[in-house]
């Protein structure tokens, strides 16, 4: 018994004890810093009579959000929600457009056509190395306010777009937005079901599945049928006096933010796409050539599916960057979540709770997006083998 005790490691050299001690020290330091910060905050806030709670959410916002019918007396809570929706709008629009443009430019960088190749290279190398904020200011002041014409002689592009220094008017639907989302979901489900059915037919009979064609056609038919049944229609914009009528007017600040985010993010996505295409085994392209696929078929059926598998994680990162960068819209007067928070702080809401809430919302959006990216990544990775 005594022998066993004497060979036991002393407490101060026991690795388990040391590990716990180390952790306790780290946690104690972090906790001390946090407590110090919190203490300072509460003292400073109470000295200046600034509330530290979230009651301000029910106060009237007393400011108007551009392009929104929300009344000035609506509570801050609702204004923040509208700002959140605006952030979502610019993010979704930006992500879609940047993906398309970025992919095209990424492919163009590998083009055998000298002019296309050089133009894409110059674009990427120029845009990637210039700050986004410059594009933002240039987009608003130089493009919209200086280059675009006044409303009286606005550019009318094929009767679809009306471009002037008051913004860009685009064709838009008339009817309930929520109904449209449901309609899109239903039509998408029909697409999926038809595609599945075609695949099972192909398994049984051996004929070509053409699931994309069939599914797409089903989607269009269902969508259009319900569209007309529910009385949706599209209006195109036209200039009436000193304003536009019909369609939807995109605010200059939205346009500039969209322009800057898409131009900037597309250059990053283009590099990722180029790298991913080059990372696809060259034998794959040679095999596609050997079975006499056309240039488009080779790209669409052989190279791109494999390239996108490699590209999904970094492109997901770019989406996250785009969403976070959309907060820059506040600097040019786009009422996204950030500008609403900034304005409400200017109107007397306490800064720390407002920005804590804003930050929490942005972090939640980031987390949700990265969950989706991870799901996409896993699904694509499963296809491999």
């Amino acid at each position: 018994m005594t022998a066993a005790l004497s060979t036991r490691v002393p407490l101060w050299r026991d690795i388990r004890v040391l590990k716990w001690l180390a952790q306790l020290v780290v946690v104690a330091i972090v906790a001390a810093i946090l407590i110090w910060l919190w203490g300072n905050y509460t003292t400073n806030a109470s000295r200046q009579n600034i509330p530290t709670n979230f009651n301000f959410l029910d106060n009237p916002a007393s400011f108007q959000i551009t392009g929104n019918s929300l009344s000035q007396n609506a509570p801050v809570r609702q204004a923040l929600y509208e700002g959140f929706l605006n952030t979502l709008r610019i993010s979704v629009a930006g992500v879609l457009a940047a993906t398309v443009l970025g992919t095209l430019i990424g492919i163009a960088r590998l083009s055998k056509n000298w002019i296309v190749n050089k133009m894409a290279t110059v674009y990427v190398e120029a845009v990637r190395n210039i700050p986004l904020a410059l594009f933002l200011v240039a987009g608003l002041v130089v493009v919209v306010l200086q280059i675009f014409p006044p409303i009286t002689d606005a550019w009318d592009v094929a009767g679809m777009l009306v471009v002037s220094n008051r913004g860009v008017a685009v064709p838009w639907y008339v009817g309930s937005g929520y109904g449209l989302i449901v309609l899109g979901a239903v039509a998408g489900a029909v697409w999926w079901a038809v595609a599945q059915w075609r695949r099972s037919v192909s398994e049984r009979t051996g004929e070509l599945p053409r699931s994309g064609l069939w599914g797409g056609a089903a989607f269009v038919i269902v969508f259009l049928a319900v569209w007309f049944l529910l009385g949706y229609r599209v209006t195109t914009p036209e200039v009436v006096g000193r304003a536009t009528d019909g369609g939807m007017r995109v605010d200059p600040s939205f346009f500039a933010l969209f322009f800057a985010l898409v131009i900037y993010t597309a250059s990053h996505i283009a590099e990722i796409v180029r790298g991913s295409i080059q990372a696809v085994d060259r034998g794959q392209g040679e095999a596609a050539d050997a079975v006499a696929l056309s240039g488009f078929q080779k790209m669409w059926y052989v190279i791109l599916p494999q390239a996108f598998r490699i590209a999904i994680p970094p492109i997901g990162n770019q989406y996250l960057n785009l969403i976070k960068n959309s907060s820059l819209g506040a600097a040019i007067g786009y009422y996204d979540l950030t500008l609403v928070s900034q304005t409400t702080v200017g109107n007397g809401s306490p800064a720390v709770p407002v920005f804590a809430l804003t930050m929490a919302i942005y972090i939640s959006i980031s987390l949700v997006t990265s969950v989706f990216v991870n799901i996409a990544n896993r699904r694509m990775a499963l296809v491999e083998r």
């Binding site: 056509n113 133009m119 820059l328 930050m359 980031s366």
Partner: protein, 426 residues
Amino acid sequence: MTDVRDSMVPLPQEPPPAPPRSGNAKVWLRRNLFRSPVDTAITLVFGAISLWLVYKTINFVFVTGRWDVIRANLRLLVIGRFPDAHVLRLVVTVIVLAGWTGLLAGIIRARQVISGRVAPQADRFSIRRVGDLAERLWIPAATVLLLLLLSSTAGPWVTAVAAVLAAIVGRALGPFIGRLKLNAVARIALIVALAAVPPALFFYIVTAVGFDGWGGFMLNLFLAVCAIILCFPLGVLLALGRRSSLPLVRIVSTAYIELVRGAPLFVLLLLANVALRFFVPDSLAPSTSTRAIIVFTLFTAAYMAEIIRGGLQSVPRGQIEAAKALGLSPARQTALVVLPQALRNVIPAQIGQLISLFKDTTLAGLAMGLFELLNVSGSITAQDAFVGQGLLGETLAFAALLFWAVSYTMSRESQRLEKRLGVGVR
């Protein structure tokens, strides 16, 4: 099957080399521009577009652009409202920094020759090396030359020439210092002396001007360099913490990294601008520039931690096992074996982070009203002489050129370094 193919044919992952341009011009045209009817159509359309763009650009640069706004405000754009009386300090700083860089390059090269990593003949003066250097540095050199041509006084010329001479002298002297046989104390003294030069220069300026007189492009460069250096220790600690075997340490590090990475930098800057003073006692309330540096540092540390974590993961397990076998303590395993290799592997990614941070310094102008280049570009168009003439295009183009020249040079150097370090090639 796959194995056989892999071992037999080393697959080239780079695109095939472009067909040689020498030879027949007609062949080149047919290969690169007029392969097929579709290709011809594409060439014609995009050729027309690019010609139009080139015409517009040349027209803007040489005909319609009104560059007098830049000429009149060059000093504001480059150094902001730096007081006249102390500009000499900036001149001294630039010259000393140039000489210091040259000296460091010379010493490092001499050490490399001594340790046998570089062949001695590679160190000799040759036309090829001069050409190589010119190819690497022509963009910043051309940009500096443009700035000099735009300036209306002789001071910048003298500074630039003196800086180049200092760099050359430093580079020539470096090898002699590098070849000295020093004992341990002298060597440490030398390292400390060299490392002390930038902070000494910093205090040399700050004691005279303080910190809030900085502005213009100088402020952008300074914010980026400051934050990247300051974030480094925190980034290393967070990266080690995230890979630690101690669960509580891991949770704390991961939470910090993920929360900061999920938040937009712009909102963090806004928050710091209005709310940072709540979190510290009044006596410590930071100035605007300091607030910006604090935010950039804390923000970049999270990204730096992720980069370094990637580097840590790339160190082969055998290295750690070998360090254990030698009986090194855990702290020494990390500091002497793992970290040096991990950091070396991620130098290019760190430069990428520096570039992105450098571009993000413009946000300090938008969110905090710091007088950095973008802010200056906007405000000089509101001067009495230039207001309401739509000159923002000119000033933004100038700002874009400066940002582009620095970022592009850094990214090219990083690619070069990547090749030389052989990252990813094992």
